[in-house]
């Protein structure tokens, strides 16, 4: 443990503490300023302090865009509260801005009367110009309606680490921790988790441990002592369901979900992947668990990645691949083969904004129709989507379970917002996770490769290496039961329908659909995937106004929950908000012949609760 006594004790100015129910803070600066880190650490602090929370990281596609530019601004928003919350918040209460460009980009979102903490050192003429400010907003009175705290963060940081023999470049890189320290003080968050994190992260370079902790503490103490800050805010712990919690991002939860499922199936996990934003972190995390029975294979491309996963599945492993939109397109031919040979295969599509390269670091949920229909010929697969970062764990687990149970490919659809967003997660007990019961066929007695389980229609999973069960599979049309190559017309139709029926039977595994709000009424809002939080909050608030709106959130997109039809019937109108131009909407309309309306946003960002409420209210008033 490193201790610091370098900061001289200062006279304590008496401070007032105000209690708040919910606060939204956005950190922003250059891509190189470490804002993602600051945001993540703040998140962790407030998680440990027991609040509920939700986050929205927002970074450019450039690795380190030139300093001071508008397109180089990297931001991280965190919402924390003493009550249940579901979104990172529409508009921040606080902006922690490391330069003029950050302020320029983020100011429009700040709530009236909101707080701005700005690093004055960066408000140079040059930087102001790059950001398109004629004069400094910190000085020209344009920020009058906000509470502005100008702090020379850079200078203070340098001073804090003085004597550690760091060059200025390295030293000033600690300023994100200074800003974090200050913010932590302002909102009475504990900084110990961050100190522990710094110690772990920089283990090999003790001078950086020292420097960063000093900067953190200096920021914290500055808040304590500087007269500028008269009020300190407190957000009380939320009354979450009792249990042990940690903070988790969607990608982390996805990785753990896959590992947990393979463990519960007692099978090795084979993850074939080709790096792509925002999916890569799943590969990174899984790769770090090599002491499990985990193979990670960074392939030469997405085709090889899914091919290797299918090869591993054929060999009896849990075969998974992770990718995003452009990579998904390359996998479809192999998924079609998996459909034909009826092997379990899990394909995780962490959706991003497109089409084509699009906005790789931004979110969207526009791959749904591609996942369901994007293969040549009739090629049914199971499609699932988690609704929150923590839920990624359970749906990833479920994807593996269903794939193995039905011998079918499962597409698991997360997105950029879930992937990088975080929330407190009630850690499940391993013993409470379902067992995944895989029975490899070993008996040659009456064996036929396409004999089916009468209930699930799954064919048997046979591991090569099993004596007496030698057989051949492939992508040509196959005869029922024997699996021999067959061009018989009637047989072909039969097999097409059997494959469809097998996927349809997954409906047996879908839990009853939960309707939030009244079971019948005026308006039903149907959502899927990462819009969950915003939809919950919007519908709850409108309901709180005494209006009739309920909410159903789909985790099973193909097949659809069998009770959905009945639920829809009980409402006068249906609204389907999506971060696309109306994909689930098309399915709902075709399936249930209901004149459902879409609400659509294709901006690379999640819905805001406000805009959803407005749309819902409009529909209710029509």
């Amino acid at each position: 443990m490193t201790t610091h006594t370098e900061t001289p004790p200062r006279p304590q100015v008496p401070k007032r503490t105000e209690e708040l129910d919910e606060v939204v803070i956005r950190f922003a600066g250059d891509s190189g300023d470490g804002m993602q880190l600051a945001g993540m650490q703040f998140t962790n602090e407030t998680a440990v302090a027991g609040t509920d929370l939700a986050t929205l990281p927002d970074f450019p596609a450039e690795i380190r865009a030139p300093a001071g530019t508008l397109f180089g601004v990297s931001g991280f928003q965190v919402n924390f509260s003493s009550h249940d919350i579901f979104t990172p918040g529409d508009n921040p209460d606080v902006l922690v801005m490391m330069n003029p460009a950050a302020l320029k980009v983020n100011l429009r979102d700040l709530k009236p009367g909101g707080i701005i903490i700005a690093d004055t050192a960066e408000f140079t003429e040059n930087n102001l110009k790059k950001a398109g400010f004629a004069t400094s907003p910190l000085e020209d009175g344009s920020l009058a309606k906000y509470q502005v705290f100008p702090v020379d963060i850079t200078q203070m940081t340098l001073r804090a680490v003085e004597g550690l023999n760091l060059n200025t470049k390295v030293a000033s890189r600690c300023k994100n921790f200074y800003a974090l320290g200050l913010t932590s003080w302002l909102f009475t968050r504990p900084i110990d988790p961050t100190i522990r994190w710094i110690e772990g992260r920089f283990k090999k370079t003790p001078e950086l441990v020292d420097a960063n902790i000093r900067a953190l503490k200096a920021g914290y103490h500055f808040g304590e002592t500087a007269e500028m800050f008269a009020v300190q805010y407190e957000v009380k712990p939320a009354r979450l369901v009792p249990g042990k919690y940690r903070n988790i991002t969607g990608n982390s939860a996805t990785a753990l979900g896959f590992i947990a499922a393979a463990e519960r199936a007692g099978l090795p996990l084979f993850l074939g992947s080709y790096p792509i934003t925002p999916a890569s972190d799943v590969l990174h995390e899984v790769a770090s668990y090599k002491n499990f029975n985990v193979y990670t294979f960074q392939a030469e491309d997405e085709i090889a990645a899914v091919g290797a996963a299918l090869g591993a599945a054929y060999g009896g492993a849990i075969g998974i691949c992770t990718t995003s939109g452009p990579g998904m397109l390359l996998k479809q031919e192999m998924i079609n083969l998996a459909v034909m040979v009826e092997l379990p295969l899990i394909i995780a599509d962490i959706q991003r904004a497109g089409p084509s390269t699009g906005m790789p670091t931004k979110t969207e949920q526009a791959d749904l129709l591609m996942a369901i229909y994007g293969r040549a010929s009739e090629s049914p697969v199971v499609v699932l989507a988690p609704a929150t970062p923590g839920e990624c764990f359970f749906m990833a687990f479920e994807a593996v379970r269903l794939a193995a149970k039905y011998m079918v490919p499962v597409i698991y659809m997360s997105d950029g917002y879930l992937a990088n967003g975080a929330e407190p997660w009630k850690i499940p007990k391993v013993s409470e996770l379902p067992q995944i019961d895989v029975q490899f066929r070993t008996s040659p007695e009456g064996f036929q490769p396409y004999l089916r389980d009468p209930e699930t229609l799954a064919r048997a999973w046979v591991k090569p290496g099993t004596p007496g069960l030698e057989h051949r599979i492939g992508g040509l049309a196959k005869e029922d039961v024997t699996g021999h190559v067959s061009y018989d017309p009637i047989n072909n139709e039969k097999m097409v329908r059997l494959r469809a029926e097998k996927v349809a039977r997954v409906a047996m595994d879908i839990p009853r659909t939960d309707v939030r709000g009244d079971p019948s009424g005026k308006l039903l809002v149907i959502g899927w995937g990462s819009t969950y939080g915003a939809l919950v909050e919007a519908t709850e608030r409108v309901r709180a106004q005494g209006k009739s709106v309920s909410h159903v959130h789909l985790r099973y997109l193909n097949p659809l929950p069998p009770d959905l039809k009945e639920i829809i019937r009980r409402f006068e109108r249906v609204l389907v908000p999506e971060l696309n131009t109306g994909q689930l909407l098309k399915i709902i309309r075709a399936e249930y012949l209901v004149d459902a309306k879409g609400m659509n946003k294709i901006q690379g960002y999640p819905f805001k609760v406000g805009e959803l409420m407005q749309k819902i209210q409009e529909l209710l008033e029509e």
């Binding site: 919690y245 294979f297 060999g315 004596p467």
Partner: protein
């Protein structure tokens, strides 16, 4: 699996024949290759269930259907990728890949190279008939320049790929060539591939009598093959010719030249084949049209295989970190309790 429990009956060629009728054209070179494989396997003493044949799409790629082993007829060009995933996770299996010049060098060229450079312990047989058979006769990446086919009625414009050279360029650890009708040579080459630990690549010259008949005639015809075949043998000088009267010597600037033995030249001046010498393999791979075509093993060297490495990594991580503890990783990082 219960391999040990299987009584090790001596298998015969018949045991490796599946119940499926072979559907190649009468006279196709693929029959001969299938036959040699079915003859060699019983001698290797591997139970049938430990063998997996993985293929892509093409005439050649129908191969697995005819083998009474495990088999996977996959999609066009991707067999090496699928075989890689299988072999990594099931290193005890014997995994063979069957591909064609189109499947393996056109659409699947990249997977082939990457499998080879990774040195995944799979055996890749590329049936080279210099044509797309299954799609009825378009030119392939190994077709000669100016080839007139259905898709190139005015002649092809691209310089052919040399499969051996590409495999060497990818630093494959075992690279060989054999011929459909050279039964003994082919058997021996298959055996060598099996014995090699690591990726093995064999180009098999194969006749497509329907769409490219006689493509390899000089090398396979009794009358001419003496002059057109150069049989590579480890440690032996490069001698060829009907009466083994010719040899190959290294001339100026590392250019090989043909010499006639006897006229003041004896075998001691000839190049001596060395499967571990990379420059040798390279020079042999691109002998010009005036030279005989080498068959045999161009290169055979040892290197860690990918599948070994991947499995060793897991074992060593388990040793170092203890076997994976799911409860522990779920609870990793800062946690707190809500009561």
């Amino acid at each position: 699996m219960s391999q040990a429990a299987t009584p090790m009956l001596k298998l015969t060629r018949k045991d490796f024949m599946s119940d499926q009728e072979v559907r190649w054209c009468p006279g196709c070179g693929d029959y001969a290759i299938l036959a040699q494989m079915q003859k060699v396997l019983p001698e290797l003493g591997i139970p049938r269930d430990q063998l997996v044949f993985v293929s892509g799409i093409g005439c050649a790629s129908r191969f697995p259907y005819y083998m009474n082993t495990y088999g996977f007829h996959t999609i066009h060009g991707r067999a090496p990728a699928i075989a890689t995933g299988l072999k990594i996770s099931r290193p005890e299996l014997h995994v063979w890949v069957v591909t064609g010049d189109g499947d393996g060098l056109s659409i699947g060229g990249n997977h082939l190279i990457h499998a080879l450079r990774r040195n995944v312990d799979i055996k890749i047989l590329l049936f080279n008939n210099r044509i797309y058979g299954l799609t009825k006769g378009q030119y392939s990446p190994t077709s000669e320049l100016g080839k007139v086919t259905k898709s190139t009625p005015f002649g092809s414009l691209d310089y052919p790929i040399n499969p051996i050279e590409i495999a060497l360029g990818a630093e494959a650890t075992f690279v060989a060539r054999s011929v459909d009708v050279e039964t003994k040579h082919l058997q021996e080459t298959l055996r060598r591939a099996h014995e090699h630990k690591g990726s093995a690549f064999i180009e098999i010259l194969q006749n497509c009598n329907v769409f490219n008949d006689g493509a390899w005639e000089p090398i396979t015809d009794r009358a001419t093959k003496g002059d057109h075949q150069l049989v590579l043998e480890q440690g032996k000088p490069l001698v060829f010719g009907k009466n083994r009267e010719k040899g190959i010597r290294l001339g100026k600037d590392m250019n090989p030249e043909i010499v006639t033995l006897g006229e003041g030249v004896d075998t001691s001046q000839l190049l001596v084949h060395d499967e571990t010498n990379p420059s040798m393999a390279y020079i042999l791979s691109r002998l010009g049209p005036q030279f005989p075509t080498p068959i045999g093993v161009f290169r055979a060297v040892k290197r860690m295989t990918y599948d070994e490495g991947a499995n060793a990594q897991i074992e060593s991580a388990k040793k170092r970190l203890g076997p994976g503890d799911l409860e522990a990783i779920l609870n990793r990082g800062d946690t707190w309790v809500v009561k």
